[in-house]
């Protein structure tokens, strides 16, 4: 039956021809592993997020008086509402974890060096877009946790001199986190951010499709060679995207989905704060509200550095350094292992990030 459907489509639209000529002749380097396909796995998990999010939007009401009740309704009265919400929550954590690992892998393999500089920039902007997805999503249940974490997070830009207050007010849409903020975050979360995200990912995938994936073996393209497009690099050992890499992507995606269902099955509170179960009260701040794990490191810097100006300057500098790293690192050496200073900074950065994350939780 499936074969007949496939043949029907193939006869009309040349599916086999497309798979063989386009994806089958798009090669990955032989030294790549499952760790190098996490970007595509993220697209799969993002699709899961989009589907579960669209389903949740059928019952969710973005109104301060009704948002929390609509979540209770989804969890308790709708059929399988608990499952889709749990998938959406756990999926977000998995997406962020994949994002961090993907960033480290691309950095380690020097996937940002020419001709892939713009791919690093589209990727790093997508990094912040995913963070914004998470931040805007936190407020939507209108719980004590989401409300106060949002209050803290949207106040951070106000430390920027001259324009900070304006940025915070723009994010909040009001003098404090209110119904206007909820409506605004809902709009960002379901319409504006997906639009930007899909555009960036399309550019990101297009670039990787044209430049090929970075290998340890391929030499760095010289600046002269970049004047005319030379095609993808030639790998000594190559793996075709279809079916080999695609199969690998499916396997890693299934592993991520298994982790998702494992968490949903064995950790019923999904790691949520106790304040996530209480309706937001704008007149009472709960004790010990902390942002989610992926925001704890910048949160710790903001909290611990006594001079807020210095703290915000550090964060802005780190952000600029991160986004434009592909143009800042002008060394012709590709392998990180042969660059001891950068490797030292990389390891030190990684350790500091873990330490700040632990520190931020206390």
């Amino acid at each position: 039956m499936l074969k007949r459907v496939y043949n029907w489509l193939d006869g009309r639209y040349g599916i086999s021809d497309f798979l063989d000529k386009q994806l089958g002749r798009f090669y990955y380097p032989g030294d790549s592993t499952g760790w190098d396909n996490l970007g595509f796995v993220m697209i799969v998990i993002f699709t899961v997020q989009a589907i579960t999010g669209a389903l949740l939007a059928l019952y969710y009401v973005p109104e301060p008086d009704q948002a929390f009740e609509s979540i209770i309704f989804i969890m308790n009265l709708t059929n399988f509402g608990w499952l889709f919400r749990a998938m959406h929550i756990v999926g977000a954590h998995i997406l962020v974890a994949l994002l961090f690992i993907h960033t480290f892998v691309v950095f380690y393999r020097a996937g940002y060096k020419r001709p892939r500089e713009l791919n690093w920039i589209t990727g790093s902007i997508t990094f912040f877009i995913i963070m914004l997805f998470c931040i805007t999503g936190l407020l939507l249940p209108w719980s004590q946790y989401g409300y106060w974490v949002t209050t803290i997070l949207v106040s951070i830009p106000s430390m920027i001199p001259f324009v900070g207050e304006k940025i915070t007010e723009f994010l909040r849409g009001d003098q404090y986190v209110s119904g206007a903020t909820l409506m605004r975050f809902y709009g960002f979360h379901i319409a504006l951010l997906p639009l930007i995200f899909i555009t960036l990912i399309a550019a990101h995938v297009f670039i990787i499709f044209r430049t090929g994936y970075s290998s340890y073996e391929d030499e760095l393209v010289s600046k002269d060679e970049l004047k005319t497009y030379k095609g993808r690099p030639f790998y000594k050992k190559a793996i075709p995207f279809y079916p080999d890499v695609l199969r690998r992507i499916l396997k890693v995606s299934l592993l991520c989905m298994s982790i998702m269902f494992g968490v949903i099955t064995f950790n019923l509170d999904l790691g949520l704060s106790e304040y996530a179960y209480i309706k937001a009260d704008p007149l009472s701040t709960p004790l010990m509200v902390r942002p989610p794990w992926y925001l704890l490191a910048p949160y710790a810097i903001i909290r611990e550095v006594p001079d807020k100006m210095v703290a915000i300057t550090i964060l802005i500098l780190l952000t600029v350094l991160f986004i434009f790293w592909s143009f800042i690192d002008f060394s012709d050496k590709k392998r990180l292992i042969k660059r001891p200073i950068l490797l030292g900074f990389f390891i030190a950065g990684l350790i500091s990030w873990v330490l700040f994350t632990i520190w931020g939780g206390y």
């Binding site: 059928l58 309704f73 709708t78 059929n79 499952l83």
Partner: protein, 136 residues
Amino acid sequence: MKRRDFLKSLFHLLGLSTIASFVYPAIKFIAPVKVSAKFKPVELDVKLIPAGEVYKTTFMDIPIIVIHHPKKGFIALSRVCTHLGCLVDYDRSESKLICPCHGANFTVEGRVISGPPPKPLQRVPLIVKNNRIIIG
């Protein structure tokens, strides 16, 4: 059946059951939730509705109208027109109920006088006891 074909069929079955295990909850989730309204009689003071007057309220989440007819006494009817669901209103001058959407006319007892509705308005039982109207 060859072993290869058997494994292929098994793989297809696994794929289909994976899709089904997501599609079934999704369809069930999208289907509207049936939340039955709690039965709670509505009590009104008879003085609230003098003869010839009407009172609009809801009973089990359904908009209803209570009419105090000078000859027929108290009558409670659903306001939901049996044609396409608009809410009917009482016309005092002609003592009848009119649907604003497609001009259906009903008697104070809910019977169709004219217009497209296929059946009369739903009547809601009521009793009058100790100067209280108890609907439901």
